[in-house]
Subunit: 459 residues, 2 copies
């Protein structure tokens, strides 16, 4: 178990320049542990600590650092040091770093790579942002079907040192087309002279380099593999994707969706690390758009000003009614957004979803409508707050609630489908967005019902 030394102590060691002691202390730590510690140190001490690490450990620690810290460290290093670090990084982590740097810096970094590593880096950078190609690593073991188990073992001993995963081998033909993947255990357990071709079952699942990273999450959930091969359109093996990168993607996608559902642009950075002005900008956009939409409520209510003047009691229930519609819509849209993201439903399922939401909305609307009516009935038997005409008022509120909750469920479940059809992220049909939509129409519904039911009495 790794020994824990808390930052203040490290701080003291750094301050008192006991560098040898520090180096000894860190030698037995895991790279992720050292990266963790560096994250808690001020920038200058971070550089000192990093400089003390043996070269190989430094390269490992570097991969665990957040991209901003990587950038900052690169600036303090000599060219030769940068070259060592970059050439030793896992290609997928390096792609993520190069992608973040300004174009000029990326070019400089690429120039520092060995010809082989440069070819790898450039090809990975060629895939679109968010595509599976960007997650690929070209470090894996390729074998030929005609090789024997003995030859494969020897091949691994010579070439397997850098490969990200050795639990799977990939079998290719003369053209580089992927024929099968095979677990290394199957090879280890077979007699040495068995040919690989005899061990194959020709059952494998491959990802496409240009596909969206989100699709990889679903495939990994279905398949019991730690790594999946990636092919181009001709079926040629061009890399592998490992499940740890997909776990990161899954967490990021969920974070993005959650931010959008909350009615803000996705932050793309940890909450605390997002500069205040950038966070305000990301939130202000949506907040202003929603505000402009919500202005229609003032316009809508303006049309019914005369009704409100004559029956002020109607105004009292406005917040209750529109918020109920918004809440019902928020439930429906959130459930549908997540079901779409998980692939539980597809665009073709709209009709089935709408039918479910119709019955749910009807049931929920009836429940709230009844509670609303009863509240007015009970209150009126004790006090005079709702006047002599409490019965038609109660009926108006009850029916409006039924209508608005049902409408909220239908609008809420439909909006994610519409967004998706229009090419937007369904998660953008956030709770606040649906609420705004339902608010305006809910008001019109409420006052229209009131005009019918109260005409002759209050209106």
């Amino acid at each position: 178990m790794q020994e824990t030394i808390w930052p203040p102590e490290i701080h003291t060691i750094v301050q008192s320049r006991e560098f040898l002691k520090l180096r000894d202390t860190m030698r037995n730590w895991s790279p992720s542990g050292i990266a963790d510690l560096m994250g808690q140190l001020p920038a200058e001490e971070r550089v000192i600590v990093f400089r003390l690490l043996p070269r190989k450990l430094a390269a490992e620690v570097f991969e665990y650092l957040p991209i901003e810290d990587q950038e900052q460290l690169l600036k303090t290093m000599a060219k030769e040091e940068v070259a060592v670090i970059l050439n030793n990084m896992a290609p997928d982590d390096r792609t993520a770093l190069l992608d973040e740097l300004p174009a000029r810096a990326t070019q400089q970094m690429l120039a520092l790579l060995s010809p082989a590593e440069r070819t790898i880096a450039v090809s990975l950078l060629g895939y679109p942002d968010g595509s599976i190609g960007r997650l690929m690593t070209p470090d894996y073991v390729r074998v030929r079907p005609e090789w024997t188990v003995e030859q494969v073992t020897e091949h691994i001993r010579r070439h397997g040192r850098d490969s990200e995963t050795l639990s799977l081998l990939y079998v290719i033909d003369d053209e580089g087309v992927l024929i099968d993947d095979i677990r290394i255990r199957k090879v280890l357990l077979a007699p040495p002279l068995t040919r690989i071709a005899e061990l194959l079952d020709h059952r494998f699942v491959a990802l496409k380099a240009t596909d969206d990273q989100e699709t990889a999450i679903g495939v990994f959930r279905n398949e019991d593999r730690y790594a999946l091969p990636v092919t181009d359109s001709a079926g040629v093996l061009i890399g592998i994707v490992t499940i740890d990168d997909v776990l990161d993607v899954a967490e990021e996608e969920a974070t993005e969706d959650i931010h959008k559902i909350g009615g803000t642009e996705a932050l793309d950075e940890p909450y605390m690390d997002t500069p205040l002005h950038r966070m305000v900008k990301k939130r202000a956009t949506w907040l202003s758009v929603l505000f402009l939409g919500e202005m229609l409520t003032a316009t809508a209510m303006g049309y019914f000003e005369e009704e409100i003047r004559r029956a002020v009691v109607l105004a009292l229930f406005v917040p209750l009614i529109i918020s109920s519609g918004g809440n019902s819509g928020s439930q429906a849209s959130t459930l549908v957004i997540r079901a779409l993201a998980l692939g539980e439903i597809t665009l073709a399922d709209w009709w089935r979803v709408a039918r479910r939401e119709f019955f749910s909305g009807l049931a929920l609307g009836t429940i709230l409508g009844l509670i609303g009516f009863l509240r007015i009935a009970v209150w009126s038997s004790f006090s005079d707050v709702y006047g002599a005409h409490w019965f038609p008022v109660g009926l108006t509120v009850g029916l409006a609630l039924l209508g608005v909750v049902l409408w909220g469920a239908l609008a809420g479940c439909t909006l994610p489908f519409v967004m998706s059809k229009l090419g937007f992220d369904p998660a953008a049909s956030s709770a606040p967005f649906v609420a705004t939509l339902v608010d305006v129409s809910g008001l019109v519904m409420y006052f229209t019902i009131a005009a019918v039911l109260l005409s002759g009495t209050l209106l």
Copy 2:
């Protein structure tokens, strides 16, 4: 690449009783592909297809089926068949199935297991729901530090057949205490007579069996491992957890949080598979609670009935103002809920978060307040809709917006901390919950500002 035959064709084959053809067709499919197909068939055909599979393939396919389908298939099988399937399942998948069955059925199933498998199953079922213990599999390779590379290779050849992952070996001492984990590649690449002890670096990260599954997500994100060892409180190795199970946990946790943020209880099942009555029940609870809270808005507005009667124009802006507060609160609470879930912030950070939200809320409130004031000013220069006193009305609306948006941000960021402190899931401080809270206080704020600014003119 696997051949695709669409269900209608399979349906025809099943209907025409061409069982041999079907068996031949499926022989080359992956277990997950067959499970996928079975999911699209009606229940009776699903049973027929499953019966046609060779015994070993059937056991593999079984693990990929959803638990409800597993239950249903078990009912159609003879005891001996059930025993074969259960004894061949991966212990973690089996735990998930046994856990879903009624207690009586679980007992019957346990009786069908071999003594060794029964011991494993009972011990896994002993860990609390949602703990890492439930994800464990006891199939992994344990080695001793004094063994040579040659001995380890021989040991794997003999005992490694069932182990979930062979990319890592676990080194234990006489008492079973975990000393280190070691990548198999390191062993394969070493000379045959090297002792394992020479290859160890004594750097490893282990999970605790009783810890929450959520903690495993964070650890796997930090460590570059496909599997992590699980120890008891004495450090004794009792199992391993593989990253594919953690990917499932991460997706489920995100789904739960998203559902709660949308203002509903987590469904715990795919949207389409949730029976309608259960979905209505899960949504009705929160919707009714929010409705009862929102009723306070009617009470609050009742206090200002006289003001509304005198200045109906005030009522027109009620939806605009309360929804802006709700949207701002929804943004803040969602960002904080996700940051807490990812471990980016902890309970101790409330003060830092609140300070950020204070400045964000101030900026956002100023923006919306200005837009609101300008809209009233511009409208008033063209029409007479806001009357002669448009200036104090505009000022009231603008200031109320500033106050309500700021208050929304502060309340929204605080509520998740409060929920967490009280022992609830922070995600329960949903967008609708925060909105309800802010609605009531926002109304009081708005009418109080109006009473001050409009006294002597409109009021």
